[in-house]
Amino acid sequence: MTATVDTGLFGPYGGRYVPEALIAALDELAQMHQELKNDQSFAAELSHLHKTYSGRPSILTEAHRFADYCGGARILLKREDLNHTGSHKINNVLGQALMTKRMGKKRVIAETGAGQHGVASATAAALLGLECVVYMGEEDTKRQALNVARMRLLGATVVPVTAGSRTLKDAINEAMRDWVTNVETTHYILGTVAGPHPFPVMVRDFHRIIGDEARAQVLELTGALPTAVLACVGGGSNAIGIFYPFIDDKSVRLIGLEAGGDGLETGRHASAISGGRPGVLHGARSYMLQDEDGQTIESHSISAGLDYPGVGPEHAHLYDIGRAEYWSITDKEAMEAFSLLCRTEGIIPAIETAHALAGAIKLGKELGPKATLLINLSGRGDKDVQTAAEYFGMV
């Protein structure tokens, strides 16, 4: 399952499709990633930050009242929403920021859609004394004005991107251009398991702590492995993080929930696997939304964090070999699940995460009370209050 070190291929997916100028930096990163895997001092440093700064291990919450709406299946929530900065993103960012220090670089750049990865990057940069520039599509800076202010409060420079569709994919393009130009002094903290090798394996390795903890927690609580593990998938970082340690547990179904927007049949969605086909985007081959010429098609989702036309290459491979399933959840289904969790458990989830909850409602109804469903509650919904209030006509 693991990509080979040299090429970063997952079956026919992944690899490197980047300007030659970036190859040396990617090689350096890949080599450092390999070395640090066996470096006790790095592991200790990261683990210390997890315990004393971001709040790990994150807890497991059993959702008894929500379970009533899931066919009585046992529902276990892995609470990544309780991490510092409000989502799983901090796991990867702290790891990459520490690597930046080891490489002797003083500047980090990041892309962000909803702003969660940008906020996490700005946070880690403040903590470790790094200069931080965050690229964000101009459309997203308007949709997520509060997160722009959060990043600026943390000392980061936020650059609105006015090229192309002015959303996450264009923010990634702009970050890549900055990186090509400033690669000697700058590390690019890519926020998901996409992009050229070694990012998909490296970001996965920083997030697998979610699945490692959750697997042990579920075993301790229930004495058995879960029936299924569910997580929302945009680029796919929180999903691969919780899936990865379960990959060899063949009895455990792995289900990724993609953003279905207005519905797959409308063409207005962000479901790269359920509604796209293989191609190359942002430095790697994977499933993506594209026209017949290979031009990227804009994605649509109520959730800014899932509003991305591609998906990480490891997910493409897990799908092809039949190890993981990918379902598409519409905006409407996600918002119903969002509302339900708020009212039954007193937890406001991120709208991204609500897609995973909607998947659990479907699967629970299908499997009934014997099933145990582990859901990655990847982020909290504070950032989405405005969107949700508008959606439900509360403001």
């Binding site: 499709y17 190859i23 040396a24 251009r177 191609g279 190359v280 290979g294």
Partner: protein, 273 residues
């Protein structure tokens, strides 16, 4: 059999001068307008043209080429337009190649794309984001079609990797003058000359320098040490946001002065191969 591009580069070498190569995206400012711009370049003394394949996510390109590509895509430019533009250039007798990001090739079909380039009289394809590790299928298809595979190398490319990349390159080696994206610059980076010298250590292929070469002075400077001078953004700037006929006159003026400058460069005599 040698491609037109190889013949043109060989001829320039025989004349002890650098070849001048111009870049313009197909469909910019319109499909027909692009063809007229290509005519201007050919008539002004450009040795070869690169037809850009406009792409939705051009990570190698700065603001000028992004805007031109965006405009072309908004005009609805498709693969057939790129090939028709290539055909137009080669019918005019020019050596012409296509420069494209990888995904459009993969979606067209790798074998089919190479064959279509050859059918349109094209000499080859420049693939700026096709890394050495992923290049084999394309190299095989291009070889079958008899077209050149032109790869980009950068100042950060190690000597070991230069050997690998130049080993799969034909036509010419595209030397990126600096670490960065396409666009006009006030001066040509010193790293360009160093990179060309390093390439000479490992390859006998012609070397053309691109990225940030904008003015006749810069073209003359690059022509003293490189086998080819590539101009892109500066040409496009003449047409961007301007009345087309006026823009075309500006393009002609710049193209003529670039051609004169390139041909007047003082070159140390390099032996003909």
């Amino acid at each position: 059999m040698a491609t037109s591009l190889e013949r043109v580069l060989h001829q320039a070498k025989n004349e002890n001068r650098a070849a001048l190569i111009g870049y313009i995206p197909a469909g910019f400012p319109t499909v027909e307008g692009c063809k007229r711009a290509i005519d201007v370049l050919i008539d002004s003394g450009f040795d070869a043209v690169e037809i850009g394949y406009p792409y939705s996510d051009p990570v190698m390109d700065g603001p000028i080429i992004q805007e031109a590509a965006d405009q072309a895509l908004r005009n609805g430019v498709k693969a057939k337009d790129v090939l028709a533009t290539l055909h137009h250039a080669t019918e005019r007798g020019a050596a012409a190649v296509v420069m494209t990001y990888w995904n459009p090739i993969e979606q067209f079909g790798v074998d089919e794309f190479a064959e279509a380039i050859a059918q349109a009289g094209g000499s080859g394809v420049i693939t700026p984001d096709l890394s050495f590790e992923q290049a084999q299928p394309w190299n095989e298809s291009a070889a079958r079609a008899g077209i050149n595979t032109i790869y980009v190398v950068a100042p950060s490319t190690t000597d070991e990797r230069l050997r690998k990349v130049t080993g799969i390159t034909s036509g010419f080696i595209y030397a990126a003058s600096l670490m960065g994206v396409t666009g006009t610059r006030t001066s040509v980076s010193h790293s360009a000359q160093e990179l060309v010298a390093r390439i000479r250590q490992v390859s006998d292929l012609p070397v053309a320098v691109g990225l940030g070469v904008s003015t006749p002075e810069q073209a003359r400077e690059v022509a003293t040490y490189a086998d080819g001078v590539i101009i892109g953004s500066a040409l496009i700037k003449e047409l961007l946001g301007k009345d087309f006929d006026k823009g075309l006159l500006g393009l002609q003026e710049l193209a003529l002065s670039l051609a004169a400058a390139t041909k007047s460069a003082n070159r140390e005599v390099r032996g003909v191969q």
